[in-house]
């Protein structure tokens, strides 16, 4: 597994209530409290339907990728539908906000990152 810092992709599921509101808000809250960069999308299903080129960019590179969305089986085939299949080399971890607690999701997203603390002050 790569030592590179992980890329993070958060899905808001904005067109439906597939992901519990409280979970997705709490996960986003933890990401915003951290000092890290992250990519967030309104709705991964929409990006898949539109075959949005940004999905390929998320997958580009050698970094591990952590995706907070819904069921891994759905996410896997949504990427496939977009024409950008997820690599099956273990680089991608899909975290399911439909049935996992917000804290567990956020801990997994932020694992190994150096900046967990609130970044109200300038980042170093």
């Amino acid at each position: 597994m790569s030592d590179l810092p992980a890329k993070i992709l958060y899905c808001r599921c904005a067109f439906a209530r597939a992901v519990p509101e409280a979970t997705k808000n709490a996960v986003l809250g933890r990401l915003c409290e951290s000092g890290i960069s992250f990519e967030s999308v309104a709705d991964l299903c929409e990006m898949s339907a539109r075959k949005d080129p940004r999905l390929a960019e998320v997958l580009a590179g050698d970094e591990p990728i952590r995706i907070a969305a819904c069921f891994p089986r759905a996410v896997k085939w949504l990427f496939h539908h977009a024409g950008t299949p997820l690599p099956d080399d273990g680089r991608v971890e899909v975290l399911n906000m439909r049935d996992t607690s917000a804290d567990a999701i956020a801990d997994a997203l932020l694992a190994g990152t150096t900046s967990h603390s609130p970044s109200n002050s300038p980042t170093p």
Partner: protein, 291 residues
């Protein structure tokens, strides 16, 4: 596809030459933008990101930051991008949101806005190819040409926007439980792992080809010329209409298609008998090619 709107990208820049936002403001702006249909990339200098200031060909970008020096340059390699950079130093969350709306409109960028009239809810079947056996039942079932085949005659979702919002009916006809609707409430249609009892379930027995007389696919599949000619002789507009009515009633009674979806399925919205017959022939040819 009905439209090709890609979400506008907003970059919250908190890297060099800028000061970070307060957590509350960052969270409130990010959540609101996402709820309005934007994509949001937060860029900091901290490790643990992997993200960079980048843009994607053809997708409008709005860069926001509290800049302490010159605003960062966003590379527009293709020379096609619509990019706007704005300093948000003195603005609160609400003002930032209005600024984004104004800038987006200035860029001439549309947005598929969740919850707004006319917005397209991304509802469409997603095929799990680890399960799919290419039996084509979904293709023969769907009246709206959502399914098609690729150049290798492999089933694929070709016209996702044609799918009837909130209708998961084709997932019920799939014998392999290979069709997902990720926004559906329950499993395995929502993408949950398929269990043994899911495989044993009764699949939906309504063949929409009965809209045209029930045996069109089987008669074509049997390659019985006699059956084909009898079929075409027996067909009359009245009979076809009766059959469609009967099929719609059957669908209503099945309880497998939401009532509001059925309400939209009036007879006039269905493909013409000729279109269904053409599709049946194409399907028969495909099946023959598979043998």
């Amino acid at each position: 596809m009905k439209n090709e709107i890609h979400p506008v990208q907003v970059i919250l820049y908190e890297g060099g030459g800028s000061t970070p936002w307060e957590v509350d403001c960052r969270l409130s702006v990010t959540a609101s933008l996402l709820d309005q249909g934007y994509s949001v990339l937060r860029v900091t200098e901290a490790a643990g990101n992997g993200a960079a200031m980048r843009t994607t060909r053809g997708i409008p970008v709005i860069v926001l930051g509290r800049f302490t020096g010159p605003m960062p340059e966003v590379v527009d390699g293709a020379g096609e991008l619509r990019i706007a950079t704005r300093d948000t130093a003195s603005l609160g969350a609400e003002e930032i949101l209005s600024l984004v709306t104004t800038v987006r409109e200035d860029l001439g960028a549309d947005l598929n806005r969740p919850g707004q009239t006319g917005a397209w809810k991304p509802w469409f079947p997603v095929i799990d190819y680890d399960r799919c056996t290419n039996c084509m039942q979904c293709l023969s079932f769907c009246l709206f040409d959502v399914y098609g085949v690729d150049e290798d005659k492999r089933i694929q979702v070709q016209n996702n926007d044609n799918c009837k919002t909130n209708c998961p009916a084709c997932s019920r006809v799939c014998p392999e439980v290979a069709i997902m609707f990720p926004k559906y409430a329950s499993g395995p249609i929502n993408g949950e792992l398929v269990k043994q009892e899911d495989l044993a379930r009764e699949s939906m027995k309504i063949d929409i080809s009965s809209l045209l007389g029930g045996d069109i696919y089987s008669s074509l599949k049997n390659r019985s010329e006699k059956a084909k000619s009898r079929f075409s002789k027996e067909r009359s507009p009245d009979k076809a209409l009766d059959e469609r009515k009967r099929c719609l009633t059957q669908l209503q009674q099945s309880g497998m298609i939401p009532a509001e979806v059925l309400a939209e399925l009036d007879l006039s919205s269905l493909p013409s008998p000729e279109a269904i017959q053409r599709k049946a022939k194409e399907l028969a040819a495909l099946r023959e090619a598979q043998v």
